[in-house]
Symmetry: C2
Subunit: 199 residues, 2 copies
């Protein structure tokens, strides 16, 4: 790309390093940024820096936060007796978007995956067990992904939560809303049958 | 999005303001950035700022540049007697990627479009006519887009270039390489027929 000046090349390369941004998108983004007013670009750079500098994990639920305790954990309207365990902050965000869950969370930052070297001790599992002792938790809802790793992690957690004498539940597996049966894999259909509820 | 801390929200909103970045992509990009080492994020912010601060238009061809004269215009290996007229810097980039064009460029920064108030005087057309007088140009290749506006602009330019006694050409319209005739619109097929060359 020697047809651009160096600083433009650097910008395009920097943007192309982001996930799901190919060279064409990077170029389009770069031209967009170069066309913005300088004040606006200063604000953008500042926002990126500030977010990265302030970022930390909530010391209670390990959600991404810029305070010691995240907005969810510090919200007095949330029910602290229910804890939903998720793999990633984006899973938490997905559940928050439903607007239906009023309890707290616990973010593991991954799932047990010995193939790539992720052992229970690499996740925020010890911290979850500590919360079970310290906090007055009535139910742990396991919302890890419906993958091999997610299921293995769910199993691991459920064992310890049961030992602590606390109710443990797993989010339902089944046919997605709007899903046509004929296009759904057998494993999901089997799970949907298993998890059937009385009407 | 009150389930994220303010600085994370700000970052997601900032990224969602970029073209072709929806809310989901913005969130994914934000999490990616927040996971990068702090030094890396500082470099990113710096690259964005530097590119925007240094950006200017090449005083000869009006390509985006961080120097008074862009790398193409200042390259002694390029042929200054041929000038390709394009609408945008990204069009120039597209032709540079072919690696086949060795002349210089002239970037108009748009096309004549009275519907949205873009008149010839809003484009770098006066500057093109000045170049025709000042520089020793033998051929002007018009590579504006094959749209109504691009064609109107091409017509406008060709009139003045001809008046200056300089050869003026238009890039060919026709069937794209790999294009199957049955899926190609009639106007393109007509142009391809009109522009047929002897074998």
């Amino acid at each position: 790309m020697n047809y651009y000046s160096e600083s433009i090349n650097n910008l395009i390369e920097e943007l192309a390093g982001l996930p799901n941004i190919g060279p064409k998108s990077a170029q389009r983004l770069a031209f967009h940024i170069l066309n913005l007013p300088e004040k606006r670009v200063e604000r953008m750079a500042e926002t990126i820096l500030t977010a990265r500098k302030k970022i930390c994990l909530c010391e209670r639920c390990f959600n991404l936060s810029d305070q010691k305790v995240c907005p969810i954990c510090s919200n007095p309207k949330r029910d602290p007796s229910t804890v939903m365990v998720v793999e990633e902050p984006s899973d938490l965000a997905a559940y928050e978007k439903t607007g239906q869950y009023r309890g707290l969370y616990h973010v593991l930052h991954g799932a047990v995956n010995p193939m790539v070297g992720v052992q229970p001790e690499n996740l925020k599992l010890k911290e979850l067990l500590q919360r079970l002792q310290r906090e007055d938790i009535k139910e742990v809802i396991i919302a890890t992904n419906s993958t091999v790793e997610g299921e293995a992690t769910a199993l691991w957690i459920s064992k310890y939560v049961k030992q602590a004498g606390i109710k443990v539940t797993r989010i339902a597996s089944g046919v997605p809303v709007g899903g046509a049966l004929e296009f759904i894999d057998e494993m999901t259909l089997f799970r949907a049958l298993e998890g059937r509820t009385e009407l």
